[in-house]
């Protein structure tokens, strides 16, 4: 009954997006064999995933494409495997996420999948889970703790790497010269920190002539991206490129540039995420490149849990391969975007 229920909800809440996402590309783990973990190392007993209850804690409201696709993918996979899934949504409040996970534990979750809102501050949860020897897989963001002791594995992108790749694209698009601006994500968020660091490091390394003249937060929100860009193009009319740390802010920048009467492509825009709207932007010529951050964690997460509960070895750090969208291939790849 449990799984039927969760499927129904899935339908109701995410509607079309849920069914479309099936076309999307599955996550692939990048090569290389990092350290691994087994249930013996971790402590705990083998169970059959099909009989287990999995608790899933989502960090933000399912109101942006990334979170929608992420939650839908987890729910779909649980449904496919007939696993009972308990869900909770922290609505961007970290203290609520801590309570959420603890509630999931007390409700009898045997396994946990967590999309953390923040990397630090997980001690109380990890302790509660350790008391009951509940295996934890974190997705899309890491928890700062010891793998295979405090949690089993992390599955997700390398945000620093994403920043670096965005820098590569920016250099490519602008020829490695000129002034560029960064639309930062929400302050205090480690995605912001890492995407910024990766980008800046790679620019310094590959295109020292390029100058980052402007860094303001757009809080991952389209409207803010638009407003900040509007100010930017007044004060720095010679800007050659804008790096937006997510698609939404990038799309806001596009609207702002359009409003200021700039031709599409006059200012190069590189963004991260890979939502359909952004990829469409490439097709339209307003965005130059999008680095993907793949949200479809369901299959890989459950595969990992399945293997782990059977006693097999699983990787501690499953960094996934993110694709990217540029130029003419973008149109063909539009179907892969979420």
């Amino acid at each position: 009954a449990g799984c039927a229920k969760s499927e129904d909800d899935d339908e109701g809440s995410t509607g079309a997006a849920g069914s479309e996402q099936a076309e999307g590309s599955e996550q692939q783990v990048t090569g290389g064999s990092g350290p691994t973990c087994t249930i013996a190392d971790y402590g705990g007993e083998k169970i059959d995933l099909a009989d287990a209850t999995v608790g899933f804690s989502q960090s933000e409201k399912e109101a942006n494409p990334f979170r929608i696709a992420e939650t839908a993918s987890i729910k779909d996979e649980a449904g496919k495997r007939g696993v009972e899934l308990l869900t909770a949504n922290a609505q961007s409040q970290f203290s609520k996420q801590i309570s959420d996970v603890q509630a999931l534990i007390s409700k009898g979750a045997d396994l946990l999948v967590i999309a953390p809102l923040n990397s630090d501050g997980w001690d109380p949860v990890l302790k509660s889970a350790a008391d009951k020897k509940i295996p934890i897989v974190t997705i899309d963001r890491k928890i700062n703790a010891e793998p295979c002791k405090d949690y089993v594995s992390f599955i997700g992108s390398d945000f620093t790497e994403q920043g670096k790749r965005a820098a590569d694209k920016m250099v490519e698009a602008t020829g490695g010269k000129g002034e560029i601006a960064i639309l930062l994500g929400a302050p205090g968020n480690n995605v912001t920190t890492e995407r910024t660091k990766g980008f800046k490091d790679r620019i310094a390394e590959k295109a020292p002539e390029m100058e980052i003249v402007f860094e303001q937060t757009g809080e991952f929100v389209r409207e803010k991206g638009q407003q900040v860009t509007e100010q930017l193009i007044q004060s720095n009319p010679d800007i050659t490129g804008i790096y937006a740390e997510n698609d939404e802010m990038g799309l806001g920048a596009v609207t702002a540039l359009k409003g200021a009467g700039k031709e599409p492509g006059a200012v190069k825009i590189v963004t991260i995420d890979g939502t359909r709207n952004a990829v469409q932007g490439i097709v339209d010529g307003s965005i130059d490149a999008v680095i993907e951050s793949n949200p479809r964690f369901g299959p890989l997460a459950f595969e990992t849990l399945d293997a782990f509960t059977k006693g097999e070895e699983v990787g501690q750090d499953l960094v996934i391969e993110d694709s990217e969208y540029t130029g003419h291939e973008a149109e063909a790849d539009l179907g892969k975007a979420y």
Partner: protein
């Protein structure tokens, strides 16, 4: 309490200066910021730039107008940001029937929230801050239930409204200016305006004088809801998208700041529309200055805090408690 206000009289000329500052301090602040920017910000003195600032501040002004009414009645409306979100959701849902129908639906939605706010306050006697807090939570939730995620709006009419202009002035700005004139007129010249001020100043006296206290309060919150919905409409048009998650976030605080910085006391009984517009412009210019000079978020916030305190200090009602 006026009989016993604890006040110190100041030497007459200093008193005069302070009174002047109280009345016009916010305009002085705007002028100062303009001068600083003209001197130190590259490319500040351009029509394009002023246009940008005006366009960005327009929704805040519109919301602040409604907020000024609520504050004048000794209340406050925390639900305005969520009403903007609700408005944008309704717009997305009804855009199929054309932008005007959608606008009407959105305005009706805003009015409905205002009606609930007003009824809770006027009939049940719930304190405005609590009543509107509840609707702030509820209306945002409703917005997300109606439209779970951001949706692009590709209606050409909306696009024109968002970026078009008349005689060089963007529609968005024209609408905000027109609304400010209307609200200013209502406050100064109508029976409703006078009654609103009396109710904000002394509720029991207004009641005993036979004023339609409940009706006035309900109209105030409905007006605030409607104005917020219109602001949501304009913001949506400008963004060419409906984003119920983030649209209007913290708008209540910006609007309250604009109103108070503009010299309207939170204790009610007084509404300054010109000041409110200037207050919104002051905050807008400040934000723009900080962004254009690429300050870090930490310093941006600290600077805003300091300026708000200074502005409110200048505009404070001397003597009134």
């Amino acid at each position: 309490m006026a009989d016993l206000t604890l006040r110190r009289a100041l030497p007459a000329d200093r008193e005069r200066v302070l009174r002047w500052l109280q009345e016009y301090g916010v305009y002085l602040g705007v002028a100062l910021l303009l001068l600083v920017n003209i001197a130190f910000t590259p490319n500040f003195l351009s029509a394009e730039n002023f246009r940008t600032q005006a366009v960005q501040v327009a929704p805040v002004v519109i919301v602040a107008l409604g907020m000024a009414l609520a504050i004048g009645s000794e209340g406050v409306d925390l639900s305005v940001g969520s009403v903007m979100a609700l408005s944008t959701s309704l717009l997305a849902l009804y855009m199929g029937y054309g932008p005007w129908v959608a606008l009407i639906v959105a305005v009706v939605g805003g009015a409905a929230v205002g009606l609930v706010n007003g009824s809770l306050i006027a009939f049940i006697g719930v304190q405005p801050i609590v009543a509107t807090l509840a609707l702030m939570v509820g209306a945002r939730g409703l917005a997300l239930v109606l439209l779970p995620q951001l949706e692009d709006i590709r209606d050409p009419g909306m696009a024109t409204l968002g970026s078009g202009e008349f005689a060089g002035v963007p529609y968005v700005v024209l609408i905000a200016a027109a609304l400010a004139v209307v609200v200013g007129f209502v406050v100064r010249r109508t029976t409703f305006g006078r009654q609103l001020l009396a109710i904000g100043d002394s509720r029991p006296a207004a009641r005993l004088a036979g004023l339609p206290v409940r009706r006035v309060l309900i109209v105030v919150y409905v007006a605030s809801g409607v104005l917020a919905a219109v602001a949501g409409f304009l913001a949506t048009a400008r963004l060419s998208a409906s984003d119920p998650t983030s649209l209007g976030n913290l708008m209540e605080l910006s609007a309250i700041t604009a109103v108070v910085v503009g010299g309207t006391p939170l204790t009610g009984g007084r509404v300054r529309i010109g000041g409110t517009v200037a207050g919104a412009v002051l905050i807008q210019l400040l934000t723009a200055t900080l962004i254009k000079h690429d300050l870090e978020p930490s310093w941006t916030q600290i600077a805003q805090a300091v300026v708000i305190i200074l502005a409110v200090y200048a505009a404070r009602e001397r003597g009134k408690r």
